[in-house]
């Protein structure tokens, strides 16, 4: 798979403070790439470098196979976390202006805007001033403006903030559709469930350093602990628990179940397999619930950041 964007050893200093320390990431084409990290880690600085708002002190950025050029801003759509619109300007006029700055002609901008305004059913706002819109309404306009010039690379920084769940869902579906139509997406957020749901690749930046990156499924495999969550129906829970404690590393677990079963999290030692565990458990009790414990992005995030500090 080709990479739409590659950064190589990006370094950026602000005075004595190093904001980015040799950051290298690869964003594959036509996929959603999660850029994660605690507040102040350097995500926004990296995004600004990709958008050519800030220049790196050293390091290279490749876009679509070539070194990033000034003209490439036309192929990138950016929805910053700190976003807004000219309050006293009319919605339609403003959208056309911003589209023109991205290189669209006035006529083309109007045509495409009509499509999007119809799609979101907001055609009536065209002649309203932005200050008359609610925050969620303005966010919709902002989203449209970001994607209007059909960029190859879309960068969304907290795209769902300010949206109610229904509209957040509409936006999520639009993002997925844009990916299906060929766009590559960098997605920066603190909402881990969105990452879980949408991202195929992630990179984790903490205190100016990249501490983790790769395909999400690979990372999860790496982080899994060979643990299994089990629900066992037995007559004497205490006896079984004692036996299991002697053989495995056992912790209590919590999940929904109809039976009054023994809920446990069992960690296997190296070399032991799931088959061994099932065989053993099957001989002791009725297995009501059996699932491999897959670490969530949230857990991976917290674990990695804690380890780094």
């Amino acid at each position: 798979m080709n990479n739409i964007l590659v950064t190589e050893d990006i370094v950026k200093n602000f005075g004595d403070f190093r904001a980015l320390n040799n950051i290298s990431i690869k964003v594959p084409e036509q996929s959603i790439f999660g850029l994660l990290g605690p507040n102040g880690a350097g995500k926004t600085t990296l995004i600004r470098i990709i958008n050519q708002i800030t220049l790196p002190d050293s390091g290279k950025v490749y876009f679509d196979g070539n070194l990033l050029r000034p003209y490439d801003v036309h192929y990138i759509g950016y929805l910053p976390e700190e976003r807004g619109l000219y309050k006293r300007m009319k919605v339609g006029e403003q959208a056309v202006y911003l589209a023109q700055l991205k290189g669209l002609s006035k006529a083309e901008a109007k045509k495409r805007l009509k499509y999007w305004f119809d799609k979101f059913d907001i055609g009536a706002w065209w002649n309203k001033k932005v200050e008359e819109l609610s925050k969620g309404m303005a966010q919709k306009v902002q989203f449209i403006v970001t994607v209007l010039h059909r960029p190859k690379l879309l960068i969304f920084d907290e795209p769902f903030s300010g949206f109610d769940p229904i509209n957040a869902n509409i936006i999520k579906d639009e993002i997925l559709q844009l990916r299906d139509e060929g766009a590559s997406i960098i997605f920066s957020t603190h909402r881990m469930e969105s990452v879980e749901e949408m991202c195929e690749h992630i990179a984790l930046i903490d205190r100016s350093n990249k501490i983790l990156d790769g395909k999400l499924t690979d990372i999860k495999k790496e982080f899994k602990t060979n643990s299994f969550e089990v629900g066992l129906v037995t007559e004497d829970k205490d006896v079984l628990l004692k036996e299991l404690n002697e053989k495995f590393e056992v912790k209590p677990a919590d999940f929904r179940s109809l039976e009054d079963d023994l809920k446990l999290n069992i960690k296997l030692a190296n070399g032991e397999t799931s088959t061994d565990l099932i065989k053993y458990l099957n001989s002791k009790a009725i297995i009501n619930h059996y699932v491999e414990v897959i670490p969530s992005v949230n857990e991976i995030f917290i674990q990695s950041v804690n380890k780094n500090s």
Binding site: G15, R83, L85, Y86, K87, L101
Partner: protein, 435 residues
């Protein structure tokens, strides 16, 4: 380049469509004409108000004939009532005052012993008019005493009028000097006002982009420098547009005003002269002034004005833009405003103080070279004729400084627009220059 045009257009329209802008554009000339009309009306009516003065004359030097009514003073003879009685009468009536001329032997003594009594302190004009009347009478008396022939004295009156011209033969006059001062001071003042008003507008526009948080969206499409330049140029365009409208409106309203209210501007200073004579004089004067103005190198003055005006405006408005980028709201701009306003003020004051008296003196020359004051001071000097090399050097220095300052301002600007919630001081700004 195309994007710069888009930005300029947006900035221009955003300013011009603003309600405050529209209201100010159409209200200011009305206010100004209103003010002029009010001043004219007030000074005219106070001129026409006549004073009612009583006199008690014990001296033989003065007769009734010396107290003839004038346009502004109406005299009443209370000599027969005596001084004490006259004082009482005047105090309890609507007289403006009582003038008392005692009996003295010598003219000198008399001259220093005339008194004026009034309830309220009298106007300077009234006193000086009475002094003039009395002085000319006493002078005549004195001349008689000294046996000076009045007729001969009148004939001996000579009035010298020095004709001024420079070595290339161009004639000038006192009037043209006044016109030069007016043009110079006027253009210097306009430059200062324009910079302060529209520079602040640039600054507010930058702050607005910061607080509305649209800035990051914009700079992901255009370079911060393009945005800053577009803003500066667009705002200047709106300012010039406003100036053009004002000029047109001012002339129209003035003409309508003078027609409707009959405020005769020329008549204000010379109301004592009969109307027909006055009109002729005013016409001649206007004709003369017009001729004199056309003798000035108007075209080159205009070209220099435009160049220095642009240089000064671009220099200062880029500083204003940087200040706007450095702060989060307008109240934080105070600490940075002083160093911007100061040189402008110094320019205007130095100009007013030195250029009028000595347009080519050391102080005026130096300040017309310093780039932060030169757009004002040099423009004030130019009508008096400045050597070309001086103007060229000054303009060169201005352009060099302007390029340097706009480069620094752009650096501060590109860092500042993306910086929120930071209390900025000069040390911080210096650090930004190195980012």
């Amino acid at each position: 380049m195309n994007k710069l045009k888009l930005i300029i257009k947006r900035e221009f329209l955003a300013k011009v469509r603003n309600k405050t802008f529209i209201i100010m554009t159409f209200l200011s000339p009305l206010l100004m004409v209103g003010m002029i009309a009010l001043v004219a009306f007030l000074s005219k009516s106070s001129m026409e108000k006549s004073n009612f003065v009583a006199y008690v004359n014990y001296s033989e030097m003065f007769t009734k004939d010396d107290f003839k009514d004038t346009n502004t003073i109406h005299y009443e003879n209370l000599t027969e009532a005596g001084l004490e009685q006259a004082k009482k009468i005047v105090q309890n009536s609507n007289h403006d005052g009582l003038i008392f001329i005692p009996k003295k032997d010598s003219i000198e003594q008399l001259a220093s012993n005339i008194e004026f009594f009034s309830n309220e302190s009298p106007g300077v004009v009234l006193i000086s008019e009475m002094e003039n009347t009395l002085t000319s009478k006493l002078e005549k008396e004195k001349m008689k005493q000294l046996d000076i022939d009045l007729q001969k004295l009148k004939k001996s009156n000579v009035n010298v009028d020095i004709k001024m011209s420079n070595f290339s033969g161009e004639k000038s006059s006192k009037l043209i000097n006044g016109i030069k001062i007016a043009i110079g001071m006027g253009s210097g003042y306009i430059v200062m006002m324009f910079i302060i008003v529209y520079g602040a507008m640039v600054m507010r526009s930058v702050i607005e982009e910061k607080t509305s948080r649209i800035i990051e969206v914009i700079v992901s499409s255009v370079k911060p420098f393009q945005l800053m330049l577009g803003k500066v140029i667009g705002t200047a365009g709106a300012g010039l547009f406003q100036f053009i409208i004002w000029t047109i409106l001012l002339f129209t309203v003035l003409m309508i005003g003078s027609y409707m209210f009959g405020v005769d501007m020329a008549g204000m200073q010379t109301s004592q002269i009969p109307p027909d004579q006055l009109e002729a004089m005013a016409n001649n004067k206007a004709q003369f002034a017009l001729n004199e103005i056309f003798k000035l190198p108007l075209l080159s003055i205009l070209i220099w004005f435009v160049l220095f005006f642009l240089g000064g405006y671009l220099l200062y408005s880029s500083i204003y833009a940087a200040i706007g980028a450095a702060v989060d709201n307008e109240t934080d701009t105070q600490q940075f405003m002083m160093p911007v306003i100061m040189p402008l003020m110094i320019g205007v004051y130095v100009g007013f103080a030195t250029v009028i008296n000595d347009p080519h003196g050391t102080v005026a020359t130096v300040f017309s070279m310093i780039p932060f004051t030169s757009p004002i001071v040099m423009l004030m000097r130019i009508p008096f004729g400045v050597p070309f090399w001086q103007i060229a050097l000054s303009l060169f220095l201005l352009i060099i400084t302007f390029l340097g300052v706009i480069w620094l301002a752009a650096k501060i600007y590109r860092v500042g627009i993306l910086m929120y919630g930071k209390k900025v001081n000069y040390k911080e700004l210096y650090k930004w220059l190195k980012y």
